[in-house]
Symmetry: D2
Subunit: 283 residues, 4 copies
């Protein structure tokens, strides 16, 4: 018999995750969604109790919870939620709040935050990179093909973004701080530059992507950026651009956060489902 999974609250991503888990032959029950937003034949439970009863896996939204309740409409308090869980259930969600984790610990229920999984971050680099490219295409009056693009930071997003930009035919430069990363940039065929040397060549690039969550584009660097350049900042808070100064200098900056959920919610949901599958396999 198929294992029961409860999907409680969230957005389009959780709906897509639910559908993907259904394809993986789980018995998927949902609670906390509008019927209209669901796929055909989705099992929408009448109550949290119906959804959770007998569920071996419980998937929550992103974020999963705050201090008081689950991210869910109609509302569901942490207390009620935990009381409805099977003892051998496994709870997973994104950004589980301290309050939720405490309550789960007290009941001795196992849990895992998918946001902390490395493969989740790797897989999300793909919709992030695509979302960034879509933004660039929308705002630039030129083709990315042949355009000199600078990608600051050669971490997960930098790697995938550089590959896609190169795949469209852009002329890609990547920056990094450490020798091995510079070596990787060369091995992958992009032009390498030390992140510390960006100011010197910033004026060559009409399109710049920042992926480093530190102040890279401070006043000194921004003054070297072309006036008609577009900077797309993909770094999580506090970002890597001095937005105030950029505004004063008239440089166009777009701070693009949470692109997977915005640009590709279905793919983002499937990535959640894949990560949940890994969590299940490991426990």
């Amino acid at each position: 018999m198929a294992k029961k999974i409860a999907v409680i609250g969230g957005d389009m991503r959780q709906v897509a995750a639910a559908r993907q888990l259904l394809k993986n032959e789980f018995d998927v029950h949902l609670f906390g969604f509008n019927k209209e937003s669901l796929y055909k034949d989705a099992k929408l439970a009448q109550s949290a109790k119906d959804a959770l009863s007998g569920a071996k896996i419980v998937l929550l939204g992103l974020p999963a919870s705050d201090d008081y309740g689950i991210n869910c409409e109609p509302s569901l308090s942490i207390k009620s939620f935990v009381s409805l869980l099977d003892e051998d259930a496994i709870v997973t969600g994104g950004k589980l709040s301290a309050a939720l984790k405490k309550a789960l610990d007290e009941k001795n229920v196992r849990y895992a935050d998918y946001l902390e999984r490395e493969e989740f971050a790797v897989l999300n680099a793909v919709p992030t990179a695509e979302g960034a490219i879509e933004i660039a295409m929308r705002h630039m009056p030129r083709t990315l093909n042949k355009m000199k693009c600078l990608v600051v930071g050669f971490g997960r997003i930098g790697k995938v973004l550089a590959k896609m930009l190169s795949g469209i035919g852009a002329d890609v430069t990547c920056s990094a701080r450490k020798c091995p990363d510079i070596a990787w940039i060369r091995a992958y065929g992009y032009t390498p530059v030390q992140t510390g040397d960006i100011a010197e060549m910033a004026h060559e690039y009409p399109l710049i992507f920042n992926t480093v969550p530190h102040m890279i584009f401070d006043e000194k660097v921004l003054k070297m950026v072309r006036g008609d350049a577009l900077i797309i900042d993909l770094a999580s808070s506090p970002g890597g651009v001095d937005f105030e100064t950029a505004k004063k200098l008239g440089i166009n900056v777009i701070w693009a956060l949470a692109l997977p959920g915005k640009a590709s919610p279905e793919s983002a949901g499937e990535i959640i489902a894949d990560t949940v599958m890994n969590i299940i396999n490991e426990i």
Copy 2:
């Protein structure tokens, strides 16, 4: 001394072409544009006469003219325009009207339609493909990466579009009718399919691009397309999709025409400039 070029009327593309020709060391004079839309230090002539006097090359817009006048604001009749031309000038533009060509023939002035140049069509496949990808990214709730895409027709746009989609990581199938084209599709690493066999596998593709200006997606084929699919028709009039039937079946179709000028006017303008350079070199 730098050769004089007059750029008379048009849109952002002609402005970009003018700037590119300036980089190629021509003495570029413009007429029929708003000062605000021009680049810094552009030479905006007070009159058509000032612009055209002594100009060895005259670049018109796209379209260049209609039955009565040049595509230009303030208006400029064909008669006035031709009367102002040097006898050894070369006139080039897109879609030169019959009336304009007749008047040029009468004055024995040489002309060339850049729209009829093969390299112009090849180079424009790049902004067209990028524009199509931007549309697909904006409308699909999934990443193009890993998506099964069908490109119908392996001509200029088909070739460039397939390459870019593949560069983003899409799973690309291309259709063609003739054996050599099927062989090229294989040699380039895409999945080949006979255009006549599309109906049989159309349901596999959530994203379909048509590049063939014949009725490919008729009722029979459309009935095999997935309800949640997006069809982007890039074929010039009359297009390749039965739009009425698609609407009835609830299939999302976007007829995307003239993408270079819309999505990448600066690149489109540089392509015009490059083509003009070829025309100049050959005459």
Copy 3:
């Protein structure tokens, strides 16, 4: 019942073609091969008569025949061969000799030379390009990755070779004569150069591939080539390099002909089988 195909003489390519046709559910009989060179369970006929009797398709080698006989061991005269054919058989082979064609015409037997098929030439560009890359890798004391390579001619082999070199990470320049080809080179992301201008930048390239069957590398051009460069000439006779002068100048030139059969006989054989399938489908 499966259609009978006779495969008469040739080399490893015909054996591979036979095996591929067997996979396509033909009843394949061979004659004129060593048992040792065949695949398991191959049907090796005792005589040409046994092989040809009732065969609807007859596949010959490359070359298929000369003035007197079929390219086959033991020998088989054209007269004997034709006398053994079914009247409704279709004969195909590479470089059918005039004598063979005459004899087939007299008996009113249909035939087709697969060497004259455009898709055959396109598909063979792949093993040719790979063979050329293997030669370059073997002879160069450096990686092709990052190497500046010049590909002269942007026809079938030039296109596939440029794509593969670029896929390995080489820095690829392609030459062509015509504007549309130059446009294609740019659209595909390689550096374009006019074939007529090669002399000016030849010294930049340690590795040069010629695909043009005209004298491109004459004394004037060769004098501009680096002394440590390798030229791989892929052009069919008379080739595109003045071999005498190259020798005098100490430039390393390799004239690499018929690479598909030498470097990848199995792939070359499958290409023959695929082409034969197209011939069958069209007749």
Copy 4:
């Protein structure tokens, strides 16, 4: 004035490194090489003393030394070598022996083993991958284009090899053990497989590359490999294949070690030079 570097002993790689360091504007003196193997205008010292006197950087071969002496012809004992060093010299080489390190420590001379640098390993993945591809091309009677290839291990060599194979048009599967690596394989567009599951699909691959220095291809896995497959083992000693069993089963295995120095000595030398530059910059 240019800083003096002494290059003492080794092979073609050290000669190439010397030439590269010369381009970087060092004053390069060599000792322990045949004049014939050197580049034009190389400064070949008459004695180790001449080469080492005043040298701020000393580059040794790979390996640099054994228990008694430097890897150099004519012979040079560790004692003599160290006695000739400037006190502020920096010694670098590959696999510095314990005896050499001890002697350098006693004289208080700084040293660094370039073999231990991460960027050295990353950059060498490129000539290693190319060397492996050259071997595969030479031994396979088919094109790598379209061939199903399995790359076991997604470390440095696996990543670069997969990219190059894919660039030639091969159909690439990569194996890894950990979830994040599997995610990377997917993000880069290859087919992922768990290394532990290789036995199940090994029969699909005519070409297998191993990069994991553990026993992966034991009897159980080898029995699932096709009889006509080629396994290229790139793993350092003890390798990842049970060579005995493979031989019994008639499977073709090539254990390819030290490919950079063998297949691309000049590129390998430049990688040494680049690594030495990093060492100099950091000290």
